[in-house]
């Protein structure tokens, strides 16, 4: 069992169209770095300089990680993480 990571539509191009990918337990920011090694380009879309981008929301089991320990929030096997752009919409899948 791993961490279940939900990828928003605009980033699914980087995950070969997958809506859910598997993440490695540990700190959120490390999990994102790890995802980037398998899905190159993902980390820079979601974070900058080790910080989650301002208009990207990350939820750990429905709780916004900003109100947990932000980038340092620990995720473990069986957790569900969702990456959600703060401003809904955009130009479809571009």
């Amino acid at each position: 069992m791993a961490v279940k990571v939900r990828i928003p539509t605009p980033l699914q191009r980087l995950t070969d169209g997958q809506e859910v990918v598997e993440g490695k337990p540990g700190k959120i920011i490390e999990m994102i770095q790890d995802l980037d090694s398998r899905y190159p380009g993902l980390a820079e879309r979601v974070s900058e300089g080790g910080k989650i981008r301002r208009f990207v929301n990350i939820y750990l089991n429905e709780e916004d990680i900003r109100f947990l320990k932000a980038e340092e929030t620990e995720v473990k096997d069986g957790d569900e993480v969702s990456i959600v752009p703060a401003i809904a919409g955009g130009r479809g899948n571009l």
Binding site: P10, E48, R53, R54, F55, I87, A88, G89, G90, G92
Partner: protein, 409 residues
């Protein structure tokens, strides 16, 4: 004309062409209109502005359009009223009300932003305009859109009060009542905006729409005799209005219309919906979303899109944030009505009550020039005053009955 060079992400700075888009494809930040201020500086002056009709388009060079204004030719340029009675009550020297209770055509500041959004929608070639709204925006899109000949789709929460529904329906838009709250309506509209080629004024037209709010700041400066006030108190829902009023003063400086303009900007919210003020008071720019519960429905956005930028403006300008209870809001409405003869909606009650608090707490100096933004008309939110105003004096239709009452007054 047309002084817009493109759109730019406020976060990562990536540039985009002028299109009906609103979010950065790379980092998901909001897009903002970029102007060529050097060219604007050559094209506009106090004299050119003063020579124009008294509507919001007198500042058209600083609006995000390419051609001539097409919608809202009677919108904007609302009175800036010297509030002497209120000033003496608050113990300050100079106090003004920027009075958008008389905005044309639907009595709220939304008539400004919609005038700009619909002009831009026409330039983009849209035939249908739409919005998600709980009130003021619905009225304005319905009305401006009727006059301009657009198909209109207005999405509202199904639970909205009957009077607000009538004030949209009279303009005969397609009014869609959605089972759900405002956040649900908004989410649905984002999906619809992706699928249908419509101009959603507060979604895909948002970068242009939001610019219309600057006209409040431009007008304040012009009506004060081409100077900025020391303090401006702005109601906050999404926080957009506050950031745009600040931007207006900055732009006037940028294009040489004002030499100096650095007003302190104050955020006003209801205690039942205070995510921006809370962040300001906690000296953070992380906005914690909340579930709104306040009589000030037009400000009830629990997860404000521009909250971060609003906090930054307040801090940068040296202002502060303050919040008031529902009772204080109602008292604010009544106070403004009784002293200045202006009937504001609940958001106006918020700014008046917040101003009082800021003065009492010493955030506003008694010798400074202060402007209170009153953004909508009280006729629209009369339910807020149910049972909170006195009853009429009932008499028989004869003189004796009248004089009996008169002797008691």
């Amino acid at each position: 004309m047309g002084f817009v060079t493109g759109l730019q992400c406020r976060e990562c700075g990536r540039k985009y062409n002028i299109e009906p888009i609103y979010v950065c494809e790379f980092c998901f930040g909001p897009l903002e209109v970029v102007y060529d201020y050097q060219e604007i500086k050559k094209a506009v002056s106090r004299t050119t502005i003063e020579g124009r009709a008294e509507n919001l388009w007198r500042y058209k060079e600083l609006m995000p359009i390419e051609g001539e204004p097409q919608v809202g030719l009677n919108s904007g340029f609302t009175p800036l009223i010297k509030a002497e009675n209120l000033a003496s009550l608050f113990g300050v020297k100079e106090l003004y009300i920027k009075d958008d209770t008389v905005a044309h055509p639907t009595l709220s500041f939304k008539d400004r932003v919609v005038a700009v959004a619909l002009t831009k929608a026409r330039e983009f070639g849209f035939d249908t305009v739409a919005c998600a709204s709980t009130g003021n925006l619905a009225h304005s899109v319905s009305a401006h859109g009727a006059k301009a000949g657009f198909n209109r789709f207005i999405f509202i929460p199904a639970s909205l009060e009957a009077t607000k529904i009538v004030a949209s329906l009279v303009f005969k838009p397609n009014l869609i009542a959605v089972d759900g709250n405002y956040d649900d309506v908004n989410r649905l509209c984002s999906e619809i905006a992706n699928k249908y080629n419509w101009a959603f004024v507060n979604i895909n037209i948002r970068p242009f729409y939001a610019e219309g709010s600057k006209t409040i700041g431009f007008e304040i400066a012009e009506q004060l005799g081409w100077k900025a006030p020391d303090n401006v108190i702005v109601p906050c829902a999404s926080g957009s209005l506050l950031t745009k009023i600040w931007k207006a003063f900055k732009e006037f400086r940028e294009v040489g219309i004002l030499d100096e303009a650095s007003p302190k900007i104050f955020a006003a919210q209801a205690m039942g919906c205070n995510p921006i003020v809370t962040a300001i008071k906690n000296d953070t720019d992380v906005i914690r979303p909340i579930k709104p519960d306040t009589v000030a429905k037009s400000l009830a956005i629990g997860n404000p899109a521009d909250g971060f930028y609003a906090c930054r403006v307040v801090k940068e300008s040296g202002g502060y944030g303050e919040e008031v209870t529902d009772d204080e809001i109602v008292e604010g409405i009544k106070l403004l009505a009784r002293t200045e003869g202006i009937f504001a909606e609940t958001a106006g009650g918020v700014t008046v009550a917040v101003t009082r608090k800021l003065i009492e707490k010493g955030y506003i100096d008694k010798d400074e020039v202060t402007v209170i933004c009153v953004t909508g008309n009280g006729m629209k939110t009369q339910e807020a005053l149910q049972g909170k105003v006195s009853e009429p004096h009932h008499i028989k239709p004869n003189l004796a009955s009248f004089e009996e009452i008169l002797s008691k007054l």
